[in-house]
């Protein structure tokens, strides 16, 4: 991706367990109204949720494609069962570009063009180059990387596009255990999909009363909403071509418009931050990781 290529805005996979109707409405509105180039669709967190959206998946794909958007099929971040491996194979056979979030998916995709997602550790140029040699056309970098690392990886990426997380709660870990179920004194096997009760995740507070983490089933996210704003121009120039917005229970069309305007220099980072803060109603913005500090901080 050369520095002169247009900056692409992407919508990452929905991380939360919304009802099928809510998801359908969300993606149809994205198709009709959001200035987004690429939409990632698919379940990343928990295979128990997968059936919920299945009846609407094809409809969402065709509406998004009809609106001129590229659709990428995202896959699970932690694969353990043979059934989940089978789902990976089905995803790879659908004909959409696939985002691999577990190395298992890289094996399944074996040489065909694909996207490497942020749950595969690509934190240096050696790993980038090996994955590119195996068919990675785009690599989404883990949220932990500071600007210096992102720029170093983007600088020599050649034909491999580089994408970063630019808005939304940051994925911090994936696990076999379901913490949402645990918080309700349920086991994972009998979870009743209680993760669906919290459209933007469940806040985990410290014993001293600080809001620290967000629980989303087997996934743990930041409490604050990660943003890349002041750095976005420099990252563009270093060769980062794709900027990911992670879906939240917010006006994501407005969020996308803000970022589109920022990338096109029609607005300033401070103005975007101010409007996002208004939308978040007291929940903080954070940018520690990209600034090379503790991730939960604002610098």
């Amino acid at each position: 991706m050369s520095a002169t290529a247009p900056a692409r805005l992407t919508l990452g996979p929905l991380l939360f367990h919304w009802s099928a109707a809510k998801r359908r409405d969300f993606y149809l509105r994205i198709a009709d109204e959001a200035p987004i180039d690429t939409v990632y669709l698919g379940e990343v967190v928990c295979s128990k949720r997968e059936s919920a959206f299945a009846p609407y998946f094809d409809e969402a794909v065709s509406r998004l494609q009809a609106a001129g958007k590229t659709v990428v099929h995202s896959t699970l971040a932690l694969v353990t069962t043979p059934r989940e491996v089978g789902t990976l194979r089905e995803s790879a056979a659908r004909g959409l570009l696939v985002e691999a979030n577990d190395v298992a998916c890289l094996d399944v995709l074996a040489g065909s063009p694909h996207v490497v997602g942020p749950y595969v550790n690509v934190i240096n140029e050696r790993t980038r180059d090996f994955l590119a040699s195996q068919g990675a056309v785009r690599i989404v970098l883990p949220v932990e990387l500071p600007e210096t690392s992102i720029r170093a990886i983007a600088a020599g990426a050649g034909a491999t596009a580089i994408e970063i997380h630019a808005f939304g709660r940051q994925p911090l870990s994936v696990a076999m255990r379901c913490y949402h179920a645990r918080s309700h004194n349920l086991s994972k096997d009998h979870c009743q999909l209680v993760c669906g009760l919290d459209a933007d995740g469940l806040t985990a507070t410290s014993v001293a009363g600080e809001d620290v983490l967000t629980i989303n089933g087997t996934q743990t996210l930041s409490f604050g909403y990660g943003v890349v704003l002041d750095e976005i121009g420099r990252l563009r120039e270093s060769g980062v071509g794709h900027f990911r917005l992670s879906p939240h229970d917010l006006d994501m069309v407005r969020v996308a418009t803000l970022y589109r305007d920022l990338l096109d220099r029609r607005t300033e980072p401070a103005a975007v931050a101010a409007e996002l803060r208004g939308m978040l109603q007291g929940r903080p913005l954070i940018n520690g990781f990209v600034r090379g500090h503790a991730g939960m901080t604002w610098n």
């Binding site: 043979p82 298992a104 240096n124 949220v143 696990a175 806040t203 410290s206 014993v207 743990t220 090379g292």
Partner: protein
């Protein structure tokens, strides 16, 4: 080691611990260099290149093996120290290197094709296609399996991939997919992934407040204790958090993994090697735990029960309570 016997792989945080583990009956020890290249980069631990040469000589003289963990992920623009660590392990005569980063695996495969490569738990390979990926691209001979699998799942992976597996037998329970956990860097700015230190001591503090002791990592309180109550180390996944108005060990209770009682099941599942955790533990701890597992494995080889050897481990378990972790159904 007898054919079919489980290999006992033991921690060596220091040269003294290496000798203690070998003397107590380890078949193999694993250790790392004194820098960011290994996932236990803590002050006072690990080996310089000369110490590694001496440690390997000590082990090899007694017919044991040394595995060198170079299992963090090199940051962009600074992969040189990791490549150098692989070179040094090869020159020192290490029996294997334990790697996680795909780029570093590619380097080792190309530069030292005859150096045996094991896949670190930091690579989080928890399924057959992932294992095949590392086996086929990088000639990985053994996979250290993540602590998220049941015995049945472990057995299926062994049958499916035909690869050597090493599983955790004693130490802590890691609820998160390892190598992909950013909780510590989120709270304190130091990355276990690339700097090799989770919840480093210089970011940990203990504060008295309203008659309680608060343990903190960076600015965040991870637990609160009554004075005199034993305070577990404030690692993010071992902290107490409040959800629905109730404080709980949301991720993991303060328990220790102890798989000694299920060694016959692990052997039957086709496991090759057992890993004892604890490079940050004392030489005395290593000697005690390794000795107990040695006796249990010898009993198993003779067709005897392992149960009599459980009592020797009880005092070493973290927080005093033990678990089989994910090996038994119901943990999730």
């Amino acid at each position: 080691m007898n054919a079919g016997a489980l290999e006992l792989v033991c921690p060596a945080g220091t040269p003294a611990a290496l000798r203690a583990a070998v003397d107590a009956g380890a078949d193999s020890v694993y250790c790392g260099f004194r820098d960011r290249t290994n996932a236990r980069n803590y002050p006072g631990l690990n080996f310089d290149p000369d110490e590694l040469v001496e440690g390997i000589a000590y082990a090899h003289d007694r017919g044991r093996k040394v595995l060198v963990a170079i299992n963090t992920f090199p940051p962009a623009g600074d992969t040189g120290p990791w490549c150098l660590a692989v070179d040094r392990a090869a020159e020192a005569g290490a029996d294997a290197v334990i790697l996680a980063d795909i780029g570093l695996l590619a380097y080792a495969t190309r530069t030292h094709p005859s150096l045996r490569r094991h896949l670190s738990v930091q690579a989080s390979a928890a399924n057959a296609p992932s294992i095949r990926y590392y086996r086929d691209h990088f000639g990985v001979r053994r996979v250290v399996l993540p602590r998220v699998l049941s015995i049945e799942e472990v057995g299926a992976l062994v049958a499916d991939t035909g690869i050597e597996t090493e599983v955790f037998a004693f130490g802590s329970v890691g609820p998160m997919s390892e190598g992909r956990c950013f909780l510590s860097s989120y709270l304190c700015g130091v990355s276990p992934t690339s700097e090799g230190a989770c919840a480093p001591a210089n970011h940990v503090s203990y504060v008295e407040s309203d008659g309680r002791v608060l343990s903190k990592l960076g600015p965040v309180t991870l637990n609160a204790f009554a004075p005199g109550e034993p305070a577990a180390y404030p690692t993010p996944c071992k902290g107490r958090y409040v959800t629905h108005g109730r404080a709980s060990y949301l991720f993991e209770e303060p328990v220790a993994l102890n798989a000694l009682a299920i060694l016959p099941e692990l052997r039957a599942a086709g496991v090759t090697a057992l890993k004892i955790e604890g490079r940050q533990r004392s030489r005395a701890y290593v000697a005690q735990v390794v000795g107990a597992f040695r006796q249990a494995l010898d009993a198993l080889a003779r067709g005897q029960s392992v149960e009599p050897h459980l009592s020797a481990l009880r005092q070493e378990a973290e927080g005093g309570r033990e678990t089989f972790g994910a090996y038994r159904k119901g943990w999730k």
